[in-house]
Symmetry: C2
Subunit: 146 residues, 2 copies
DNA sequence: GTGCCACTTCAAGTCGACTTGAGGTAAAGA
DNA sequence: TCTTTACCTCAAGTCGACTTGAAGTGGCAC
């Protein structure tokens, strides 16, 4: 039998069962069936969950993700939107690269005041002039449900 | 006079006044003084706000940001932590790069089912094996306060 | 067949990050 | 001087993304 019990999905995807139920309610995933009350999942749900996690990492809301991918995991909105999201993401990536470099510099530079360090200021300035930043939220909770 | 009125900061930083007050309450920024009731700011607050926005983009919470940078904008925690954050960020950046490529591929690939496309699956798999993703939140509201 | 216990539902609670609203105040123009 | 108006405070509300709690259920080991 190829179906996964919810407990197995929890274990393998590292996502709590409450989250799986929540995602189901939102239409982001679907159980392939039930064994009694227990949800059973197609193994493909693992890829789908990875896709959702990835989308969240990229700053998309659950609603946006639901809109981007049909329940079967296939991209469903038009290619223009997808391409636009890719561009948006590309800008974010470049900004994060600057921040990473800034952090590295701050960790390495012996100067006491980083705001006076030309390197640091130049890095900062490079992003301040960019598009308004899209905040990222904290990581999800631990896989245990209780 | 070199001080900026709050209205000016709102205008230049593209951040609503309510957010500035909120950040002040959280200890993330400070007004250099008041003109009557009105807050006045040192121009350096603009850089500090850029730094905060950048930190948010990178997925750090306001509390984390407050912990990373002293009120004067100087990094204050130890270099090890800074370097660790930079590494964490670097992993995230690589994952986002994969997502960007996946989106681009989805926008360009004429195949009807992307989950069956080897390119798409390979891209996805590359991130699924990585560290659990750190979700990003939606962009901030518009600069208008009402 | 009976008990355990991981699952179930559904409503309510939490958390971070702000926003909104009511009621107040002072700088600046008429 | 008087009014306007943009700021102020403080409490409460909102939103997304989940989590928690109470009460129920049914597969599986004994």
């Amino acid at each position: 039998m190829t179906e996964l019990d919810i407990a197995e999905v929890v274990q393998r995807a590292g996502v709590p069962a409450s989250t799986l139920r929540f995602y189901e309610e939102k239409g982001l995933i679907a159980a392939s069936g039930r064994r009694g009350l227990r949800r059973q999942y197609d193994p493909a749900v693992l890829e789908r969950l990875a896709l959702i996690a990835l989308g969240r990492t990229a700053g998309f809301s659950l609603d946006e993700i639901a809109r981007m991918f049909a329940p079967d995991g296939q991209p469903r909105i038009d290619r223009q939107v997808l391409a636009a999201k890719a561009e948006e993401l590309d800008r974010t990536i470049r900004e994060l690269g600057v921040l990473r470099d800034s952090l590295r510099h701050a960790a390495a530079c012996p100067a006491p005041s980083h705001m006076e360090c030309p390197t640091f200021r130049r890095l900062l300035k490079a992003t301040a002039t960019g598009t308004a930043a899209a905040p990222r939220k904290r990581a999800p909770r631990s896989p245990q449900e209780r």
